[in-house]
């Protein structure tokens, strides 16, 4: 495959590209995802802000 000599090296070549691509996908999917504790904090801040708006 790809002009390479055996499956072991072909797999390494493809996995190099695939692992970087998967990391990129992970990064893009979670681009704006905070940690669970930050999420709770942000929701609380948003609720506070909304309360302020209503008042």
């Amino acid at each position: 495959m790809l002009g390479l000599g055996d499956w072991g090296v072909s797999l390494a070549y493809l996995l190099t590209l695939a692992s970087a691509a998967l990391c990129a996908v992970y990064g893009f999917i979670n681009w704006n995802k905070p940690s669970p504790e930050d999420e709770i904090k942000e929701i609380a801040e948003e609720e506070e802000w909304e309360k302020g708006e209503v008042n």
């Binding site: 002009g3 000599g5 090296v9 190099t16 970087a20 990391c23 940690s35």
Partner: protein
């Protein structure tokens, strides 16, 4: 001396100095100086992590190794990405960031000290960094020096003075911001340089598949001595369980990234960002960066055989004289002259980005962990003590780089293996307690200290008396017992110290933790702010 090279190098040095100055103008507190204010942009953090990770040795050294092992070395890139980026950022990085923020830790030794509520651990870790890192820094410095001597026609000493003055100034003045801004710039140059190198190599051979096919067709030219060791061509894996196969696998499994997970200069970067968002983004950027750096070096190193065999009838290593000469000679003979300048800067960037982090890590270990926190030495002006310690660390590393090649009989070898020495010590001493400490609440202070000491002692014994690559040039075993190493003539001489040290450290950490006093609930609540 080439005018293009001189002008390019000077422009590069001026921009680097400017970014260092920018870091200086934005630094007002210890938090700025040690952790860049904990507000670093994810792109800067990821590229800084990658460019610190990849030094000149990774490009030239491993590229040269690929000219022998061939593309089977790409397994190393796969694991560099999976372990060195994904596992490092997601499994280790996120916890380190959250815990580091919660404990208000500014350095890796302080992180360990606060996590295990142990001043001893903080000071001992800092001392280990300060004692062992100058050899590693010396190795990287000499890499940078060798390119500066060629680029600017400077003498060895003048080149050393130039590179230390520039890097030392921006690290001392700009602190972590100076380091990370310049790292990002240097990392950008490294990416451009490596992409051009890959493009030229593949296009000169008619494209990706034709290039691979030409290399595969050269299997018949593999030297008989290599075939005996298990070599089956540059595009095939070595014979299963052959000596070459074992070397490759141990390099991949051990050289990879296991040691990288416990490198203080890399771990601290996780604490420079504000939230997990930056780390998620960093995974994407860091993985692509490492793929370009390591992947290109291994592919080009392998393909260089096609060029050398057609030009000289010899395989790359034979034509270049040594593995380290393969990549530079390949570029000089086959790529346009202007690219020599670009590549020179690429390698200088790789060396300087690693050096700057080493200086910063050593200086902060002495200044912050030992002098300020350990001995209570304070100065009226923030970061003055750390800056002075930074100067001491820079001086120590420079003297190491200056004197060591002539000090030991095999000085040049020990300098090069300073990297192996530092990685071995760090993995042995830190990996078990740092990794377990991120997840296991039952890890006690006594468990952490015993894990640190047992791993360190085993690493030191193996490095100084068994692991021939380091023991032989160090010469201590020879001086005491009249033999280069106790591993001589056995397979133990080549087995990396972390193979012994990490399991021993793990066992001590767990066993002692099970039978010693636990941390109180309040301390654990501070250490583990993450949601259950």
């Amino acid at each position: 001396m080439n005018t293009t090279v001189v002008i390019t190098t000077l422009i590069y040095l001026v921009i680097t100095a400017g970014l260092g100055y920018l870091g200086y103008t934005q630094t007002t507190s210890s938090k700025d100086y040690l952790l860049a204010g904990r507000k670093v942009h994810p792109v800067i953090m990821a590229i800084s992590y990658g460019s610190t990770f990849i030094s000149t040795a990774a490009i030239v050294g491993f590229g040269g190794a690929a000219s022998k092992f061939g593309m089977s070395l790409l397994w190393l890139t796969v694991l560099n990405i999976v372990l060195g980026i994904f596992i490092a950022f997601v499994v280790f990085g996120k916890r380190t960031r959250a815990m580091g923020h919660a404990l208000d830790a500014h350095t890796f030794p302080e992180f360990l000290g606060k996590r295990f509520d142990s001043k001893f651990l903080q000071i001992a870790s800092a001392a280990l960094i300060f004692i062992a890192m100058p050899l590693y820094a010396g190795a990287v410095m000499l890499g940078g020096v060798s390119f500066l001597t060629v680029a600017l026609g400077l003498s060895q000493n003048m080149a050393l003075l130039t590179i230390v003055s520039i890097v030392g100034t921006y690290v001392m003045m700009g602190g972590m911001k100076g380091v990370m801004y310049t790292d990002a710039f240097q990392g950008g140059i490294m990416v451009i340089g490596m992409i051009i190198l890959l493009w030229f190599t593949y296009s000169a051979l008619g494209g990706i598949v034709p290039a691979h096919e030409q290399l595969t067709a050269l299997t018949v030219k593999v030297p008989p001595a290599w075939v005996e060791q298990g070599h089956r061509g540059w595009t095939s894996m070595p014979e299963l369980f052959s000596p070459l196969w074992w070397t490759l696998i141990s390099t991949i499994v051990l050289g990879v990234g296991i040691g990288v997970l416990a490198q203080p200069q890399l771990v601290v970067r996780f604490m420079t960002v504000k939230s997990d968002r930056e780390l998620n983004r960093g995974v994407a950027i860091g993985a692509v960066f490492i793929m370009i750096m390591a992947g290109v070096a291994y592919i080009v190193g392998s393909l260089s055989n096609v060029f050398f065999l057609s030009a000289t009838g010899k395989v790359a290593i034979a034509a270049a004289g040594s593995p380290d000469n393969v990549i530079p000679l390949f570029i000089k003979q086959n790529l346009p002259e202007w690219f020599t300048a670009v590549f020179m800067i690429t390698l200088l960037s790789a060396a300087m980005s690693t050096m700057s982090s080493q200086f910063h890590t050593m200086g902060s270990a002495v200044g912050h962990d030992i002098l300020e926190k350990g001995m209570g030495i304070k100065s009226g002006k923030p970061v003055r003590v750390i800056r002075m310690a930074m100067a001491l660390a820079i001086l120590t590393s420079t003297l190491t780089a200056y004197f060591l090649p002539g000090f030991f009989k095999d000085g040049a070898t020990i300098i090069v293996n300073g990297t192996a020495l530092f990685f071995g010590l760090c993995a042995g001493a830190f990996l078990a307690i740092y990794g377990l400490g991120l997840y296991w609440k039952g890890l006690t202070r006594a468990g952490a200290i015993s894990g640190f000491l047992s791993g360190l002692v085993v690493s030191v014994i193996i490095l100084f008396f068994v692991f021939e690559k380091v023991a032989k040039p160090l010469g201590l075993c020879n001086a005491l017992f009249g033999i280069p190493s106790f591993g001589a003539g056995t397979p133990f001489k080549d087995i990396d110290p972390l193979v012994y040290a990490v399991p021993v450290s793990l066992v001590f950490t767990v066993l002692v933790s099970l039978f010693s006093k636990k941390h109180n609930a309040a301390h654990l609540a501070t250490c583990f702010p993450m949601r259950k």
